[in-house]
Each structure stands twice: as structure tokens, then as C-alpha cells.
């Protein structure tokens, strides 16, 4: 009796070891797995933009409710990570908050991947300041100057004579690059700009630091509008000042807006096509509105 219990426990120890080993091997080989884009596939992986994670998970959830046999897994990491994963074949769909760069396209062609671009939603970038800041509106040029010129002070824009605390996202963020291209006119951010790792940190700082200015996705800004003030933006000195909202982003009146994309490696088919079609359908676009983004113009 006793003897057999001992044998059993020893056996258990061995089983545990074997399992642990198997798990380790599975984890190691899992990294280099090439996704299998076959017709009968019933799992989809989506990787990419951190901005879009929230939106894409909502899509995935709604899609899986309708199609319980398909499993959709969503991870962030940044648009660049997503594109790299697409090129390496470790994701089926890449979610990107910016267009693919030429460098990445060249790399794709080298790897015999031909990324197809699908615009799935629109996003406006809101400029936020502390609620006590008297500045209500800025032109794109003024905004650009704030982010480039270390000598700019709030008094130059109708505010108090204070130094400006410039808040930016990390350089790995798609929003950083988009803002740099669109607002800074491709110039470098001033050296003293604080690069914050998360949108929540930008909101947190703009809501407590009186002289701070930062930019965040429209959805986040609207969700935090009782903590921060959203600045109205003029495309140039003559145009009207426009606050970001669903309507102004959709109509293109609000100047700092962008498309959000899916990139797929091949012509989408099977479950992937089903998922992309779902995102673009009326039902999928309703999810976009719910998540604080703006539907794509058809």
C-alpha cells in the first residue's frame, strides 16, 4: 500500500517534469510558428497598434458572439510591431494607426508578402490642456510651434507668462509619428518634450499640471473631458476653430484626423475575410462609434 503511494508520487513528479518540458518546448516553437492561412482556419490573430487594441478587441468580441467557432486573439505592441509580425507571418491581420512605411514595404516585397491596406475606422487626435488654461483655440502652426520651439511660452498664445510643459507619446507610438508629420510638419519634437508611455499618463499630467499640453486619441479625450480641456483647432489663421467630435472628424473639418488600417498579407479569405467584412459592416461600424472612434467614410 505504502509502497504504491510512493511509486505514484514519484510518477507524479516525473509527469510534472515532462509536462513542464513539453510546455517549454511548445513555448519556444510557438514563437516561430507561421500562421496557417488556410480556408478551414478557425482562429485569427490580430497584432499591432496600441491605439486600436480597444477597438479591435470590441470587434473581436462582437464577432465571436456571432461566430462562436472562430477564435480571434488581439494583441497590441504598436503599429510597427504589427507590421513586423505580418511580414514574419506570425499574425494574420496587422492593425496599424499609420500607413505602412516605404522601408517596411521594401522589406515585405523581399519576403514575398504583398500587404493589402483596408481603412477600417477614423480617429481624431485631440489636443488637451489643464482645465484652468485660458487658451481655447490654436492654429495648426501655433500648435506646431509649441511642440518644436523651446522658447515658446503660453503668453505667445493668449495665456499666462509661463513656460510650456510639452507632453508627447513615446516615439514608438503611431500617434507620435502622425502628430509629427501632420502638426510638426516633419520637424523634430523639442528635446525637452516629455515622452509618456501611455495615453492615461498624458491625461493624468494634463489634468494636474497647469502649464501642460498634450495630445491623445479622440476617444480618450472625450472620456476624460471633465478632467482636461480640449482645445479647438484652426487649420489656418482664417479658418474657423473646430473642436474634435464624431461629426467634425468624419466630415474632415477637424484637421488632425487619420485613418486606422488593417493590413493583411494576402487576399483575405475564409475566417479572415469574414472578420474584415464584419468590421466594415454596419454592425461593425456601430462598434467603432461605441469605442469612441469615427466610422470610415464610404
Amino acid at each position: 500500500m505504502n509502497r504504491s503511494i510512493q511509486d505514484n508520487s514519484r510518477k507524479n513528479v516525473i509527469i510534472v517534469f515532462v509536462l513542464a518540458l513539453a510546455l517549454a518546448i511548445a513555448a519556444l516553437t510557438g514563437c516561430s510558428r507561421r500562421s496557417n492561412i488556410a480556408d478551414g482556419q478557425n482562429s485569427i490573430t490580430i497584432k499591432g497598434s496600441d491605439t486600436m487594441v480597444h477597438l479591435v478587441s470590441n470587434w473581436a468580441e462582437a464577432f465571436m458572439n456571432k461566430n462562436p467557432d472562430v477564435e480571434v486573439s488581439v494583441t497590441g505592441g504598436g503599429s510597427g510591431t504589427g507590421i513586423a509580425a505580418l511580414l514574419n507571418g506570425t499574425t494574420d491581420i496587422c492593425a496599424a494607426s499609420r500607413k505602412i512605411k516605404n522601408k517596411e514595404l521594401d522589406l515585405a516585397l523581399q519576403k514575398n508578402v504583398n500587404p493589402r491596406e483596408i481603412a477600417v475606422a477614423r480617429d481624431g487626435i485631440a489636443v488637451v490642456v489643464h482645465p484652468d488654461n485660458p487658451v481655447d483655440e490654436l492654429t495648426l502652426d501655433q500648435l506646431g510651434r509649441i511642440f518644436i520651439d523651446p522658447a515658446a511660452r503660453w503668453s505667445d498664445f493668449g495665456g499666462p507668462d509661463e513656460k510650456i510643459v510639452v507632453l508627447s507619446r513615446e516615439s514608438s507610438s503611431g500617434t507620435y509619428v502622425f502628430f509629427q508629420e501632420m502638426v510638426l510638419k516633419k520637424k523634430d519634437y523639442l528635446q525637452d518634450a516629455k515622452l509618456l508611455p501611455a495615453t492615461s499618463a498624458v491625461i493624468q499630467s494634463a489634468s494636474t499640471d497647469k502649464t501642460a499640453i498634450g495630445y491623445v486619441g479622440l476617444g480618450y479625450a472625450l472620456a476624460a473631458k471633465d478632467k482636461v480641456k480640449i482645445v479647438a483647432i484652426k487649420a489656418d489663421a482664417e479658418s474657423p476653430a473646430v473642436l474634435p467630435s464624431d461629426d467634425t472628424v468624419k466630415s474632415g473639418q477637424y484637421p488632425i484626423a487619420r485613418d486606422l488600417y488593417f493590413y493583411v498579407g494576402l487576399e483575405p479569405k475564409g475566417a479572415i475575410k469574414q472578420f474584415v467584412d464584419f468590421c466594415l459592416s454596419a454592425e461593425g461600424q456601430a462598434v467603432v462609434t461605441d469605442a469612441g472612434y469615427v466610422v470610415v467614410q464610404k
Partner: protein, 290 residues
């Protein structure tokens, strides 16, 4: 027969597990060296000496490590300035003055502090400490080197306390007895005999704490503001080496100059922690021998 075979298998598995760490360390060194080596060939190592870290730019990218190194240095030095008095003071109290009951209460709390995940500490820093630092010094923002250093001190203090406490406790009882017998007071004995005798251990504890501080990522990234400027002021934002790697590695195009520059940052960081660990080990060994 069967049991002998099983024992062998288990032994082999355990041996494999134990030797993995050696393989991994060697692997990391070669991997880092390989990628950083590419950077040394093109665009060349002198690029790393520039004073600007602007890895993403439509104009000209530059990969100067100086702001990152000075950033890490500033945060680390400040953190140690905060850690040493607290850590050493607490360990002296716990090992020499605390009553057993106090020790029973203090030690678990210190261990809990050591176990808090750095992201949680970072979040605490973002929401509580940064506004506090801002208010206390009348700054426009709480994202400063000092905020990061204070958070890192929180994480290093438990390490320093436990190791220096061990060191102080292992000072032979005869030293203290001799000092007391010569008429020294308890305080005199503590500061003139016990602590100096334990000094190598305390130094090693501080070194290991410093190692943790240099290598720490998440907490600093959330509160230092990450502006890559060269500064000696505790009230300015700084960008540390660890935060740079963590923030940029995820997005960097594979095989690009930026990617390789990050590996160079990794090497500098690795050498710094490696050096500190070796010094700490040496000091500890000497102390154990003595």
C-alpha cells in the same frame, strides 16, 4: 532497476534546468554583441557619442547615448542618496535595537515592499508621488528625475535592508562584548565597532541595490518624463537607458540602425550592472573570508 533509471532522468532534467542559465547568459552576450557590432561597422561607434537621442525623425536620426547614460546616472545616484540613509539606518535598527516583537512586525512588511511589482510602484508614482513632488518643490510638472529616484529608492531599500541586516548580525558577538567590557556605551559599540565591522557587507548590499536601480524599467519610465536631455538637475525630466529600450524596442523596424543602437544601449547597461555585481560579489567574498 526502474527506479535507478527514473532517478537518472530526474537528475538529468534538473541538470539541464540548472545549466540553462549559463547558456542563456552566454547567448545574451553573443546576441547583444552581434547586433551592436553591426552598429559599430555602419554607421560607426562615434555616432553613439553625440549628445542627442532622436531615433525617430523625418530630418536626421541621431543615436547619441550621452543623454541616456547621464539620465540613468542621475536617477541612480539620487536613488542611492535616498536609499543609503534609510536602508542602512533601518538595518541597524532592526538588527541591533529592535525588540523581537518589533522585528517580527517590521521584517514581513519590508519583504512585502520588496515583492510589489514595479508596474504597481510606477502607477503609485504617477498618481501619488509625481503630484507630491510637483507640489513640494513648486515645479510645473512632477515628471522629474527626483520622482523616479524616489520610486527606485522604494524598490532598493528592502534589498539593502535585508543584506546589510545579515551583515550586521553576523558580526561576532565577541567584538561587541569586548567593546562593552572596555566601557563603551551601547551606542558607541554600535557605531564604532559593529557597523564598521559589517561595513563590507553593507557596501555590498548598497552595490546590489544599485544594480537593481540601474536595471529597473517600468517604474522609472512612468514618472521620469523620458525627455532625452543632458542635465544634472533633479527637477528636470530624464530618459534612462532601460526606459529607452523598453519604450522603443517594440516598434523599431527590425535590423535598422535604430534597432542596432538599442542593442548598444543594452550592452552599456549590461556592462554597468555586470560590473556592479562583480564588485559587490568581490566585496561580499572578502567580508566572508575576513
Amino acid at each position: 532497476m526502474k527506479t535507478a533509471w527514473q532517478e537518472k532522468a530526474v537528475k538529468l532534467t534538473l541538470f539541464a534546468a540548472a545549466s540553462t542559465s549559463i547558456l542563456i547568459v552566454l547567448g545574451i552576450f553573443t546576441f547583444l554583441g552581434k547586433e551592436a557590432g553591426h552598429f559599430a561597422v555602419t554607421p560607426g561607434i562615434e555616432k553613439l557619442l553625440s549628445g542627442r537621442w532622436v531615433p525617430v525623425s523625418f530630418q536626421e536620426e541621431s543615436f547619441g547615448l550621452l543623454p541616456l547614460i547621464t539620465g540613468s546616472l542621475l536617477v541612480t545616484v539620487l536613488a542611492m542618496v535616498l536609499t543609503i540613509p534609510f536602508g542602512v539606518g533601518a538595518s541597524v535598527y532592526i538588527s541591533e535595537l529592535a525588540r523581537p516583537l518589533e522585528r517580527e512586525i517590521l521584517k514581513p512588511f519590508i519583504e512585502i515592499l520588496a515583492g510589489i511589482p514595479s508596474v504597481v510602484i510606477g502607477f503609485f508614482g504617477l498618481v501619488v508621488l509625481a503630484p507630491l513632488v510637483k507640489g513640494a518643490f513648486g515645479l510645473p510638472t512632477g515628471f522629474t528625475a527626483l520622482t523616479g529616484a524616489a520610486l527606485l529608492a522604494l524598490m532598493a531599500i528592502p534589498t539593502v535592508i535585508s543584506i546589510s541586516e545579515d551583515a550586521i548580525r553576523s558580526v561576532p558577538e565577541s567584538y561587541k562584548a569586548a567593546s562593552l567590557a572596555l566601557g563603551a556605551s551601547r551606542m558607541q559599540t554600535m557605531w564604532r565597532v559593529t557597523v564598521p565591522a559589517a561595513l563590507p557587507g553593507i557596501v555590498a548590499a548598497v552595490m546590489l541595490g544599485t544594480g537593481r536601480v540601474i536595471g529597473e524599467t517600468m517604474a522609472v519610465m512612468m514618472v521620469t518624463g523620458n525627455a532625452a536631455v543632458i542635465t544634472g538637475s533633479p527637477f528636470k525630466s530624464v530618459r534612462t537607458m532601460t526606459a529607452t529600450i523598453a519604450a522603443e524596442m517594440g516598434e523599431v523596424p527590425f535590423g535598422s540602425e535604430h534597432y542596432r543602437a538599442l542593442f548598444c544601449v543594452g550592452i552599456v547597461l549590461l556592462l554597468a550592472t555586470f560590473g556592479l555585481n562583480i564588485i559587490a560579489q568581490k566585496v561580499l567574498k572578502k567580508y566572508r573570508m575576513g
